[in-house]
């Protein structure tokens, strides 16, 4: 029973970290309608930017997350405007394939300058808390707080700002939004900057939890897809729910299968949800 509870807690903690890039991925999908494989590259770029200001300039975790958001967002905007936007008329699949190429370039850009070594953040060593027999790292709680703050920020942006509302309008009905005078190109740029920024911030959160290398983003790509598909592609609350569900499912699965199959759980989750509830737990585009 205790093992089960521990697994659920671990799953929620892990899921909250995946939720951040998953929201980023689904935000880009909601507006631009293509699955961005470059999200992995944005995660890694953000992770390295955050790591750099943390270890070289001594920034704390919250500031590192902010820097990572900016770096990821800038990388995303640059790639979108420079490499992907012009391909939109050729169809979503072409852009998706181009985004794989973008990912490859970003990953190797990092590899060229930083090498393949694993790098850890400079963090004060903190004790584990034991609450009712459940072990929780203090750093993990901080990461959870940061993840919740980031996601809450996104929701506030979508609910209360002009651009956020415009984004939801475009996601809901692009034609109607255009009739209302919303500039689709501008909203697309905001969505990419936001989505890639979230991916970058997620990169730091994942790095705080373990360590980073140029493949950091690629390793979580399947989990990010799974979270987004689980929640319904394009639904932002869905991506959060999907990430938490996936985190718990992964931890529970590890009670019965070897830990090396962790990333396989995401794949199985995708297959199950596509078989039984193809529009996701919360339904597609419920943003």
């Amino acid at each position: 029973m205790e093992a089960l509870l521990q697994a659920v807690v671990n799953g929620l903690l892990a899921g909250s970290l995946i939720a951040v890039p998953a929201v980023g991925f689904t935000a880009i999908f909601a507006i631009l309608r293509y699955p961005s494989f470059a999200i992995a590259g944005y995660v890694s770029v953000g992770a390295f930017a955050g790591w750099w200001v943390n270890t070289r300039l001594g920034f704390g975790a919250p500031l590192a997350v902010l820097v990572a958001f900016a770096a990821g967002g800038a990388a995303g905007l640059l790639c979108e405007l420079g490499a992907l936007r012009r391909l939109m008329p050729a169809g979503a699949l072409t852009v998706a394939i181009a985004s794989i190429a973008v990912n490859l370039i970003l990953e190797n850009f990092l590899r060229f300058f930083f090498g393949n070594d694993l790098r850890g953040f400079d963090l004060p060593i903190q004790p584990d808390l034991i609450i009712g027999g459940i072990f929780v790292g203090l750093q993990q709680i901080w990461n959870l707080v940061l993840a919740v703050a980031v996601v809450a920020g996104v929701f506030a942006f979508l609910m209360f700002t002009r651009f956020g509302r415009a984004m939801r309008a475009v996601a809901d009905n692009p034609d109607l939004a255009r009739l209302k005078g919303i500039d689709p190109a501008r909203i697309a740029a905001i969505a990419v900057a936001l989505g890639a920024g979230l991916a970058g911030a997620g990169g730091v959160l994942l790095g705080l939890d373990t360590s980073i290398d140029p493949m950091t983003g690629y390793r979580v790509l399947l989990a990010v897809f799974a979270a987004a598909v689980l929640g319904g592609l394009g639904s932002i609350p869905g991506a959060v729910a999907g990430a938490l569900a996936l985190g718990i499912a992964e931890e529970l699965a590890l009670l019965v299968v070897p830990a090396t199959y962790r990333s396989g759980v995401g794949f199985v989750a995708i297959l199950l949800i596509l078989t039984f509830r193809p529009r996701g737990l919360l339904g597609e585009r419920a943003a």
């Binding site: 699949l93 998706a96 794989i100 490859l104 990333s263 995708i270």
Partner: protein, 301 residues
């Protein structure tokens, strides 16, 4: 030098088979397969296991293709009714799962150490040079055969129906084409060809490990098919040989750019692959040999 060239020709042929496979599913029916490396790996492991148990080469190749077809049907069974982007996501995951299984199921695949001593027909009898020559010739012959077959298929009513599905599946369904069945057939046949490529690779190298089936291979093949011309078998073959030539040429990057380390050379090569794919998509999206679409026949007056 000669054996290096022969090696490149053989690898080029194996990439050409993979490109033909991708071109059939993607260029023919519009089905993206981001798990191509997974099907490549399944073919390699299937034949390694079969011939390891004493089966002759021909049986090994058949087992590999059958395994590819089964995996292809299993993976498409769940997703073909859904939108295309789901297929992209699922196949990407599939490629990773194949690698994960190969890494972890040591009893079957020997894990990260890989399987060595795979049957390499002719290696003992022909010597190194003779073996390389025989395989370069043999693989090229297989490429030629598969190309002729797929080109025939391309021009047959089946190929035209596939294209109809690719362009507008609702319209194709409305015109009485069995859309789902066509998609299954195209994807399964494509998986079989990819698995065949994997099987040939396994016997040629006589050693395989999960590292040989990285997702990077899938990207190489996408580059090959896009550069050669999506939807045209001869373009896929040409693209594959171009990509291998390009990859081999970039090996000499270290000599051109002084003062960079091995890992930086590797990073530069991969980045160049990504950049080339972007450039092709932007500058020449139809490839070197664009697809030829015959004009609609004139209505009889």
């Amino acid at each position: 030098m000669l054996s290096y060239l022969l090696f490149s020709v053989t690898i080029g042929g194996i990439y050409a088979l993979l490109s033909l496979a991708l071109n059939l599913a993607w260029g023919g029916a519009g089905l993206v397969n981001l798990g191509l490396a997974g099907f490549f790996g399944i073919g390699a492991y299937a034949t390694a296991l079969a011939t390891g148990a004493g089966a002759p080469l021909a049986i090994g190749l058949c087992v590999a293709m059958a395994a590819g077809v089964l995996a292809g049907l299993a993976i498409t069974g769940l997703t073909l009714r859904l939108r295309d982007d789901y297929l992209a996501i699922v196949t990407l995951g599939f490629g990773e799962i194949v690698r994960l299984v190969a890494l972890n199921e040591r009893w079957l695949t020997n894990g990260a150490d890989g399987m060595s001593g795979i049957l390499a027909p002719g290696k003992a009898a022909l010597g190194v040079v003779g073996f390389n020559q025989a395989w370069a010739g043999g693989v090229t012959l297989v490429v030629l055969l598969v190309w002729l077959l797929l080109r025939r298929l391309d021009q047959s009513p089946f190929g035209r129906a596939l294209r109809a599905v690719r362009e507008d599946q609702e319209l194709a369904g409305f015109a009485g084409k069995p859309v789902l069945r066509l998609k299954y057939q195209a994807f399964a046949l494509s998986a079989a060809v990819a698995a065949l490529a994997g099987a040939l690779y396994a016997h040629y190298q006589s050693y395989i490990s999960p590292d040989h089936f990285q997702p990077l291979i899938t990207i190489y093949i996408f580059l090959a098919v896009t550069a050669g011309g999506i939807g045209r078998p001869v373009g896929a073959v040409l693209g594959a040989y171009c990509v291998v030539a390009f990859l081999e040429a970039t090996r000499f990057l270290a000599a051109v750019v002084p003062g960079i380390e091995a890992v930086q050379v590797a990073a530069l090569r991969e980045a160049l692959v990504g950049l080339s794919l972007l450039l092709v998509l932007h500058l020449r999206p139809k490839g070197i040999l664009p697809e030829r679409i015959p004009p609609a026949p004139k209505a009889p007056s």
